[in-house]
Symmetry: C2
Subunit: 242 residues, 2 copies
């Protein structure tokens, strides 16, 4: 029976070259999933993700789907994947989606979180999930700049692929910047993000927070030189669908 | 000037063969500290820890000290160590202790925490710091057994070194067992612990929690076969001094 399985998954991206399969034998999340799922089904199977995440970027709420001719139930798929996937890829849930559901094309909104560990104290247990940055950050200036970024803008300056011919207009619905204990956490919600956009937004906001850039010039700030925050601090939190 | 520097430190024990230096070139926390400190001082320097932790065991509150003839201040030592130690060993603080202070001999109490991740959901980001155990645990039975363990007893049955000629009498001051979200956390406070004692106590309590052993036979339960909980779930939380 033809089924369309939808997965909610998390992963520690530290040892992967990102989400997207690059070639054969590449160490990516997608390739790892496809290898286990193809073995489970006895047939080469493509996995569709909501979008790519870069090398070293984590996810707590990635969505992916795959089609299969199988009698297996969602619960059986879940049990199989939990058994055979490595422990840095975790399947939170599996369900059967409508035949036409497509993880990437149907996604309407995504939320990313960027974690900065903002003091000099050691950070032994969280070290792979934060950007360590001891310099004090002026959150008021960062929030002012963030308020200018929210809305529908051409974010070409915040893409690592500035020469693309596709539209670089996106709608940034919300940026929140909160201090949580020793961390500063930035959350970005948008209808979509350009290549490295969250890391460039974060890098630019941090330059504003340390006084290296003025908050009111944020929209044009990284025109010439993109400041890219390190991958390890970034995590895909949620993908929303209609 | 002769000084006695006391350090409060944390470490992720995952890639180490435990606290104690074994020989030359061994990958242990103590050897790593001694190598960096000896380089800092230009003299071979021994580091005294409050006690050993096994291979793979973590610490959030280990205490250690070393003697040095130096003009360096505690703040300078802290800055040097933070700069040159690997990122899985973190120095929380350094101060100058009285000349006679000895991390091991003066310790009067220690607290360890053992974390069990007690559900079937994936545990991607905490996987190196918990024992995954999906089977339901009867906390009431575990607490009943724990109440029998508290007090002054001969804990020889709970040591991995049962043939020692030294006293195996210890005073277990407190055992707390709490459910925190998806985790069950056990905390043990005693005047000292025998070799692998916390992991054997935990393994035995888990057997009681899953109904494999009776709570009221806990004190003699592991006489013949010691159930040793895995190292990764264990963390030295605090060492107290008079």
């Amino acid at each position: 029976m033809r089924k369309n399985f939808r997965m909610l998954l998390c992963y520690d991206g530290t040892r992967y070259r990102g989400w997207q399969r690059l070639g054969s034998g590449e160490n990516t999340i997608q390739a790892k999933l496809e290898s286990v799922i193809s073995k489970m089904l006895g047939a080469e199977t493509a996995v569709i993700g909501s979008g790519r995440t870069d090398a070293g970027v984590h996810a707590r709420g990635q969505v992916a789907n795959f089609h299969a001719d199988t009698d297996m139930t969602a619960a059986q798929v879940l049990a199989y994947l939990r058994r055979y996937l490595p422990e840095d890829i975790g399947i939170l849930s599996v369900d059967e989606a409508p035949e036409r559901f497509h993880s990437r094309l149907n996604a309407v909104k995504k939320t990313y979180e960027y974690r900065i560990r903002n003091d000099e104290a050691p950070c032994v247990f969280e070290r792979k999930y934060v950007w360590r940055m001891a310099e004090p950050l002026d959150l008021a200036a960062m929030r002012k700049a963030a308020s200018l970024l929210v809305g529908t803008h051409d974010f070409r300056a915040f893409s690592a692929n500035k020469r693309t011919k596709k539209s670089t207009v996106r709608t940034l619905e919300e940026i929140s910047i909160e201090r949580v204990g020793s961390e500063v956490r930035l959350r970005f919600t948008a209808d979509g993000f350009l290549y490295r956009m969250v890391r460039i937004l974060t890098g630019t906001l941090v330059e504003i927070g340390t006084g290296k850039r003025a908050a009111d010039s944020v929209l044009t700030a990284p025109e010439r030189d993109s400041v890219v925050a390190p991958a390890c601090g970034l995590c895909l939190m949620e993908v929303r669908y209609e």
